[in-house]
Symmetry: C2
Subunit: 346 residues, 2 copies
Amino acid sequence: MSKNRGIFLKGYVDEGLPTESDFKLVEEDIDLKAAGEALKEGETLVRVLYLSVDPYMRGRMKSVPPSYTTSFALNMPLMGNGVVQVVQSKSPNFTAGDLAVTFAPWKDFAVLPAKMLQKLPSGIVASAALSVIGMVGLTAYFGLLHVGQLKNGETVVVSGAAGATGCIVGQIAKIKGCKVIGIAGSDEKLSFLKELGFDKVINYKGKGYAELFKEISEATDGKGVDVYFDNVGGVISDAVYSNLNNFARVATCGVISAYNEGQLPTGPRVEPALVSKRIKMQGFLVGDFASQHEAARGEMLEWFKEGKLKDKATIKEGLENTPKAFIGLLQGENIGKMVVKVADPQ
Amino acid sequence: MSKNRGIFLKGYVDEGLPTESDFKLVEEDIDLKAAGEALKEGETLVRVLYLSVDPYMRGRMKSVPPSYTTSFALNMPLMGNGVVQVVQSKSPNFTAGDLAVTFAPWKDFAVLPAKMLQKLPSGIVASAALSVIGMVGLTAYFGLLHVGQLKNGETVVVSGAAGATGCIVGQIAKIKGCKVIGIAGSDEKLSFLKELGFDKVINYKGKGYAELFKEISEATDGKGVDVYFDNVGGVISDAVYSNLNNFARVATCGVISAYNEGQLPTGPRVEPALVSKRIKMQGFLVGDFASQHEAARGEMLEWFKEGKLKDKATIKEGLENTPKAFIGLLQGENIGKMVVKVADPQ
């Protein structure tokens, strides 16, 4: 008998930072041999190795979720991207031992349809599969290049720059011959961004609009901002907006500053600047580009293998620490992708 | 001797509604015969017949104008689009009596380079040349079709719908087979919009966010809004934003609610909705599409001649009433294009 733990959401959290007491750990026994024999045709029994925690999950923890998703069910494990290892398979496409990326429950073991599994490309570590080569990398790619319409030689600002998506955005911008300014919240994060090749870095902590505006302006050497990849919103974004050039593009990817708010926050209205500078602001989700994912993933994989894109993860150990990792993510504790290591491959 | 009056701006008005005392009327004599003889090669002496007053002029009355324009000079007449009649010409392209559209000073007579004049198409009245067939019409055309990317069968909301641009936007949307909801500020304006073929009309006066949200939602028959052509900003826009569909487009044309504000107004932040509904908001100016103006004007002229586009103007009489007409425009007194009739053609 093995233990099969699962992390459940106890109730919806409509406002404020979630706490560990909003989650519960439920434990049951599983007989792996019997579970393998009970599989139906096309199913696999998998061991969860790594789980991805991502900001968008905050929206799924609300009783009224954003329109593009649904609330997490309360009497089931939470779910998200993960890397798994096949324990038993009744699919011709997988055999025991295979590693795959999937949409996984927050559990030790699960039965999943084989068609939900994508084999891990050879030579790719789990954290890269959940970041550079995963949804996060594609989010950076489509946001910067398709929504942001980045052109060679332009100046790019990235907020949440040391986060999973932000640090990939900056690296792609460098590949495309652009100047990149990263905004993040600690000196350690800024050092990391410098290592990745960001041209300028700004620590936003403790700074208001006026100071941020001035620092961003100086970081552009007076040239202004052509593309803003926004992960955070709030006063940081206000200060970037005021530095935008005519015909600038804002790729609005996330609004982590608002995720714990019960009500829509207020701020300076954007419309006057949109008109006078002919700015485009556009929100997007990586799923909107599904038909182009495969081609983009191939390009990202090339860059990764050539060493132009680097993978960085903050890894927490243990399924039981998944809520803590998620809460830490919302507080900006991670550098690069926040990942939970649930088990080693067997 | 004839009188040649001019309207000057006395000082910059950085905030608040301008008043007539912000302008002064300066009068001088002009000998039309002598002025005609004094023309240099390529110049024309013109009589101003009609002047256009437009919301963007409010920005030019500020000491710090929007980035796309400059402040009006203080010791010269204000300027704007107008229809003029040639009195004398030293250009082979114009003869006395010709009617033309130009960028004209707020005066009775002026000397202008012939290359600044565009002959009025035959059969076009002055108000149409300043609206449907003029910059206002092109603003509606490019905002709705290029920025808004309107598709057949979609639902469009227009704010400031009874204004010069708004009423053309609605008519183009009907030509394109769309459902059009117009928002305006009086019952008289709503009746006008119904006459033009708007499907639904909403009077915003005295209504807050919640009531506007509900009325817009009902006007769409629960189908939501695909394209929002925004002339006003503020709480009306907040209520429209909340009714936008996934992948909606907002063409931000003007922000008349903010033009008299000294400071940037605040309001609910738009970023969360942009992401969750993948909305595009884009500001634009008609001048950005200059290379495509001629083709679009041809199409608009066809529609106008076929009776599919109707011209509507509110005409004030007398150069001396131009400031009053402009101030009235900012208060929404006009239905259709606000125009000042300065003189009859001779």
